[in-house]
């Protein structure tokens, strides 16, 4: 990436961008698709947590007709970039279908050209490489090589919609009222360093993994350098990006369950590890010894999602808010309870997970993992 391009995406040459935020996630545990109405309503209710410089949504189950193909959402900051990117895409993928994403006028700032592709990797290029890896390599290549093109969504049967504006404006712009999905994660952003750049909005995505994040990682520098050893290119200079890649590395590539991953990202204190029973102590100690560089230090709450699973997690000393709730087959995660109440005044359960303890909802599994202490409906 040449210096000029770098200036464009990261105009202030920041080590990292950081942002305060609101996060909201909503998932049907039966996998039933539902409209954008409730997620948009909920995230807009937390308007004051964001400042209009970023909003976004990740939706799962939106492209049933193309569910076997990788859906690439790409933003182009110049025409030239699209031409270059199209050549890269053509070399890596069979493009099944592509179109300019439908948009409409809304209160958003400087929208780029937005394009959607449904692709399948070309097997003959590297027959031994798993398809996912092909996609990742292509994404990293596009994001770094062309400079003005960014793949902001690359999973199957899911899509990320994000940009500069309040979340409700972004939804309006992307015509989200036309989409149905079984899992929505949403983000309202309060960035602190940019007049607004579309790639910097949340959710962050790699394959079908998405992360929306509230907080700032003081450990970003080492988290990033650790991930770079594994081939991740952190081009977006945001701590959320490293979270997404960390989850990809640990969960997808290393196949660790979220219950373990949460013990890496929000590792228990040594005092707790030392006092755990020997077997568990052994595991926890090894995790910290091995993955210490991936300890996410500093305040955060995140909603991590991929197909069939939505995970809420806060840092180990619980410096950011996260509220979880269920109603029927619906699981909600939110920065503020009011957002949940707005879309579901009545709830079956509502609780605040403790620091470092994940809330996990899986399709087909009605049992929510997490520390619901008292589940009682306020009158």
């Amino acid at each position: 990436m040449n210096e000029l391009d770098n200036k464009f995406i990261n105009p202030f040459n920041q080590d990292k961008d950081f942002a305060g935020c609101s996060i909201f996630g909503m998932m049907s545990l039966e996998g039933k698709r539902f409209s954008s109405e409730d997620p948009i309503k909920a995230i807009s209710n937390m308007h004051d947590r964001s400042n209009g410089l970023g909003g976004g949504f990740a939706v799962y189950g939106i492209y049933p007709d193309f569910k076997d193909y990788y859906a690439l959402h790409i933003m182009y900051l110049s025409k030239d970039a699209k031409e270059k990117t199209d050549r890269v895409l053509a070399s890596c993928f069979n493009i099944i279908y592509d179109e300019e994403m439908q948009t409409k006028a809304a209160k958003v700032v400087d929208p780029p050209l937005l394009w959607r592709y449904f692709v399948e990797p070309k097997k003959r290029r590297s027959p031994n490489l798993p398809e996912d890896e092909c996609v990742i390599q292509a994404v990293m290549r596009i994001n770094t090589e062309t400079g003005k093109a960014f793949v902001f969504s690359s999973g199957k049967d899911m899509g990320v919609f994000k940009g500069v504006g309040y979340p409700e404006d972004i939804a309006e712009y992307f015509c989200l009222e036309d989409y149905y999905g079984y899992l929505w994660s949403c983000h309202g952003r309060f960035p602190t360093n940019t007049p607004g750049w579309w790639g910097g909005a949340h959710p962050f995505n790699i394959l079908d993994w998405t992360v929306v994040h509230n907080g700032e990682l003081s450990s970003y520098g080492i988290n990033r350098r650790y991930l770079e050893m594994y081939g991740y290119k952190c081009t977006l200079q945001t701590d959320t990006e490293v979270l997404a890649y960390a989850v990809d590395l640990l969960m997808r590539r290393q196949r660790l369950p979220i219950e373990v991953v949460s013990q890496i990202l929000a590792a228990p204190f040594w005092s707790e590890i030392d006092s755990a029973e020997p077997k568990r102590c052994n595991v926890l100690r090894a995790l910290r010894q091995t993955y210490g560089s991936l300890l996410m230090n500093g305040p955060f709450s995140v909603i991590v999602a991929h197909h069939g699973e939505m995970i809420g997690l806060t840092d180990r000393v619980k410096l950011r808010p996260l509220i979880a709730a269920t109603r029927g087959n619906m699981l909600y995660l939110s920065s503020e309870e009011a957002a949940i109440r707005l879309v579901s005044p009545q709830l079956d359960k509502l609780w605040a997970p403790r620091g470092g303890e994940p809330v996990i909802g899986r399709v087909g599994d009605k049992k929510i993992v997490g520390s619901a202490v008292k589940v009682e409906e306020p009158q």
Binding site: P11, F12, Q14, D15, K16, D17, F18, A19, G20, C21, S22, D48, R49, S50, N51, L53, F190, P191, T192, N193, T194, P195, N214, G215, E216, P299, L319, R320
Partner: protein, 503 residues
Amino acid sequence: MKSYLPVDFIVERDESKCIRCKVCVNQCTYETHNYDAQDDVIRSKDENCVNCQRCVTMCPTHALSIKKNLGPFRDNANWSSEVIKDIKKQAETGGVLLTGMGADKPYLTYWERLLLNASQVTNPSIDPLREPMEIRTYLGAKPDALEIEFEDGDIDLKTKLAPQLILETPIMFSAMSYGAISLNVHESLARAAMRAGTYFNTGEGGLDSRLYKYGERAIVQVASGRFGVHSSYLNAGAAIEIKIGQGAKPGIGGHLPGEKVTEDIARTRMIPVGTDALSPAPQHDIYSIEDLRQLIYALKEATNYSKPVSVKIAAVHNVAAIASGIVRAGADIIALDGVRGSTGAAPKVIRDNVGIPIELAIASVDQRLRDEGIRNKASIVAAGGFRSSGDIVKAIALGADAVYVATAALIALGCTVCQKCYTGKCPWGIATSDPWISKRVNPEIGAERLVNLLRGWSMEIKEIMGGMGINAIESLRGNRLHLRGVNMTDTELKILGVKMAGE
């Protein structure tokens, strides 16, 4: 444990001049001097001396002088006497090295490498003695544009401006809490601010009810300890400042030990007498930028949007981005405190190693806010070791609206920067809560000294402006063309946004 520490200073007394009046004895709060009645002689314990110069100044016959103990240690650029003594001290106590005042190392200043402009021939300089020189400054959020109604030649302003602070000189007194400094110092600052048409900052220890009458010239601070924060306090001041950080100790909190919490201080801080007043580094309701917005607006709500809200941070690595976030969070004023910022007490290792110079912070924050088009939304106040009107003019030219001074104000009141503020025994009656020692500052004399300093500096600022051919400070603010750099790398010049001298 036998101490291996050598004395820092040696008291020299000219016996032929000493009249045994015992003024040195009663003025030294460290009990360095003792009168031996039997021998009718005054003796000094060198080990107690901190070289505050109090006794030297007060001695009616100039019989005293304090010499630095040039030290028993061999010269060594790496293992300097300071390093050796620090290690010994920690080996003897196992504690964190504490110090007072701002960083004392020579390598953190850029003011010396910035030079000011003056008019010659092509554009006229202005005689500041006879012609108007305006240095009035308003702090607070300004609108991007004004809506004006124009009807039948009558002009009416439709836009309602946000609340503003009005400064007759762009120099304010920086936050120093009651408790860290004495009430008399607070009162000196308050009176001086009142008379000079500027503001003093209460610091995080509240405002004594006796000083509420100076509220219109007070910026009341809210820090993590929330000491003395009460609706009447919030409404007493002209502005509210949320203290996030401080240049001398970014990321470190404050700690007023219980023995300094006297009855008056307890009343002002609204805590029981004698309890430790801990102000941890974080505001516990702010762990993210949107939380800051939440607090800013909580304070605006609590004062019905009648006062500007300032946010004070230490200048650190990402200062420009942080500042941008603060402005976007709704702050009307952003106060930046550089690495040379002062303190009553800070771990030495933090003070001397954390943060960035204020020059770079002003430059990068001002530029960033302009790049983002939000410079109007907040005023920038710079703090951290301003020593002269020259420093101040350079800061304003770099982009600050106004500056905060604290150390200079204390020096005006008598401080000799002996760096022992944390002992609470300040022989100049400044950094103390001891009602006996506090009397050494007479608020009236103190105010006069401070007003004199501001007057002198303001006149110098006008002189400099006149030389530049500028008669209003607006034309200096952010006008980096009036600055040139020397002895700097291209990167340094770039960050400061100034050209090399000669260019």
